[in-house]
Symmetry: C2
Subunit: 369 residues, 2 copies
């Protein structure tokens, strides 16, 4: 299995690099003071440091269930399995469905496709349109392939967002054809316009809905979750237990304490959304002005801009940019086949407006040279 | 795969249960004040909350390498892979060696054998003698089976400790027969007499040495590690990355800060050893007085006492005891075949002398009834 190219780029960068690669949230937005306050409340308790149960801290599972309930997606503590980041949720599901065929999007998330490959799932990619995969193509594929993996909210890498209509159409096909849906939503809270209803909410017994605090609060906590019906979760628990007994107890206790104030989390999310929306608009304004040949759609959420540079050798471009200390990710990395997509993914969350301008200038010059 | 019977017992217990089951360290011994102080130092730093590298925080890897170097086992940062508890180390190795045959001890650690089973390793158990497996039997088995899993320090469950001579004999066979050794040492710091030299130190290029802070500091941190040569570790890294990207960043930062004071850790370990040694002796004195038919050897370290009750139906005994709110683990659970070992494992770390006396009295009466 190839290692994540993105992580290799990340590890090659230094403090002078302007990085449009990676998916690092902006560390200035971590609510460090509040989380540290929560930490000092819970670290004094002995139970915070002891072994706990494999499915996760009951108080945290309740808090996450509450987040779903607030949005009208009926969920109880028993529907939540805590995982060590969303990545572990993907691994557990890949392990559970090992050797199965699976419908994925093209492009798709590298952390997922790597886990699928490691567990010998045969991937059947469906091309992404403006509002998600084509419903008819999904229906055709679902006649043979009863497992699917979709990222309907501000997809990494393509930023594609499924429309309401498309979500309902997908849900209907899942129900009719007896498909199981793995719905990966790490960016669902980082929206710039509105929050979409999860596809899983239409098909709660045929879906795994994956969430994470890595983008909304802080990645190093390594806390994500799977929302599913209890029967499905029960089958995953032995795998979770075998992988790491349980996820970090400190992180779970801190998050559980933090989420006691639901208003606190909502206020933080609004701040995050405003900040990232502004950043995205600044970045896109700069792209429009200085790189008009870059064809893209402004994202509705998430941390990336994705687009095409027609007729450009993307890897040659990256090489030139890297020599000038600017990095991004060629979108070919996100396809499971060999292809020249002519597309690139640009992260905008972890650069200042000055760095954005400088980085885009470097890309522009590299294109001209 | 069957779920851990121990965890099922644990989940069935309530606040009135006297539990000799499980392997919970005593929560009164967690150095909460010092760890919390370390936490408040590192939580103020933004990098503590950000994504980090899959192999682990460099400062923590250096600190762990130092612990090895202090004992004369030459180790550098590059020899350490941080894992989400020892359990994850076991899973990663089981995944890496999937479908292989493996030599194990009988009895063995359930968390390991479950991971081996999940990854389709064929287990070849060798019976434990007083000082470990028989060297000649190991040699015979190693002609066919080139992978082995041993727990030489105060084994869970049997408390068996390999003698110096036996360690050298095993190392020699590993070298001569081209075997790879997975040496699991979660209890190596919880010794009552002396610390033994790891078998891995004789065969650093043919071994994975597994360590953990779960018993020595606090389990909820979920931080363990694999010590191996860099070539072996490089092969494990893609699996680690696929499983959870990296282990909890908060835990790693807190531990890294804590281990800056090596004297602090050593002082804590001495306190731990003294406390557990006293507890063990108290427990064994009570056993000798009130349960003379229980045949066992006082352990040299770890958290358990293991012994036999000749001619007793252990599961019937457990059922009687559970009705009186006392639990322990029948040793049959730790063998991969169906057998009536007539043995039980008793944990002594998490009960007071009063509870010990009461619990032993319950077992005594259940035996007589």
């Amino acid at each position: 299995m190839k290692r994540s190219f993105i992580r290799e780029i990340l590890e090659a960068t230094n403090s002078n690099t302007i990085s449009f690669a990676g998916g690092l949230p902006n560390h200035d937005l971590f609510p460090i003071e509040e989380l540290s306050q929560c930490a000092s409340n819970v670290l004094a308790q002995k139970t915070t440091w002891q072994y706990s149960t494999s499915n996760g801290l009951p108080s945290l599972r309740r808090a996450i269930a509450n987040l779903y309930n607030q949005e009208g997606f009926e969920t109880s503590e028993e529907n939540i399995l805590i995982t060590t980041g969303s990545q572990q949720a993907l691994y557990i599901l890949a392990r559970y469905y090992q050797n199965s065929p699976i419908i994925i999007e093209a492009p798709s998330y590298l952390g997922a496709t790597n886990s699928f490959r490691l567990n010998n799932l045969t991937m059947h990619p469906l091309p992404l349109r403006d509002d998600g995969i084509d419903a008819e193509q999904f229906k055709q594929a679902s006649h043979k392939t009863k497992l699917s993996y979709l990222i309907p909210d501000y997809q990494n890498p393509s930023t594609t967002t499924y429309s309401e209509t498309k979500r309902q159409a997908i849900a209907k096909i899942v129900e009719q054809e007896g498909v199981v849906l793995i719905e990966d939503s790490p960016y669902s809270d980082i929206y710039f316009e509105k929050k979409y209803r999860p596809i899983s909410s239409y098909i709660p017994n045929r879906s795994f809905h994956l969430g994470s605090f890595s983008k909304s609060l802080a990645p190093s906590l390594r806390i994500g979750w799977i929302r599913a019906n209890t029967k499905l979760l029960d089958e995953l628990l032995p795998i979770k237990e075998s992988i790491d007994l349980h996820s970090c107890g400190l992180s779970q206790a801190i998050l559980s304490e933090y989420l006691k104030g639901t208003l606190r989390f909502q206020t933080h999310l609004q701040k995050l959304q405003n900040h990232y929306r502004n950043k995205m608009n600044t970045f896109c304004d700069l792209l429009d002005t200085h790189l008009p040949q870059f064809q893209y759609t402004r994202p509705q959420g998430g941390m990336f801009v994705y687009g095409h540079l027609e007729g450009v050798d993307i890897y040659a471009l990256l090489e030139k940019c890297m020599r000038a200390n600017v990095v991004f990710v060629p979108a070919d990395e996100f396809f499971i086949d060999d292809r020249q997509s002519g597309a690139i993914r640009l992260n905008f969350t972890n650069t200042t407006p000055q760095e954005m301008a400088k980085g885009i200038e470097v890309i522009k010059r590299a294109l001209e040279s």
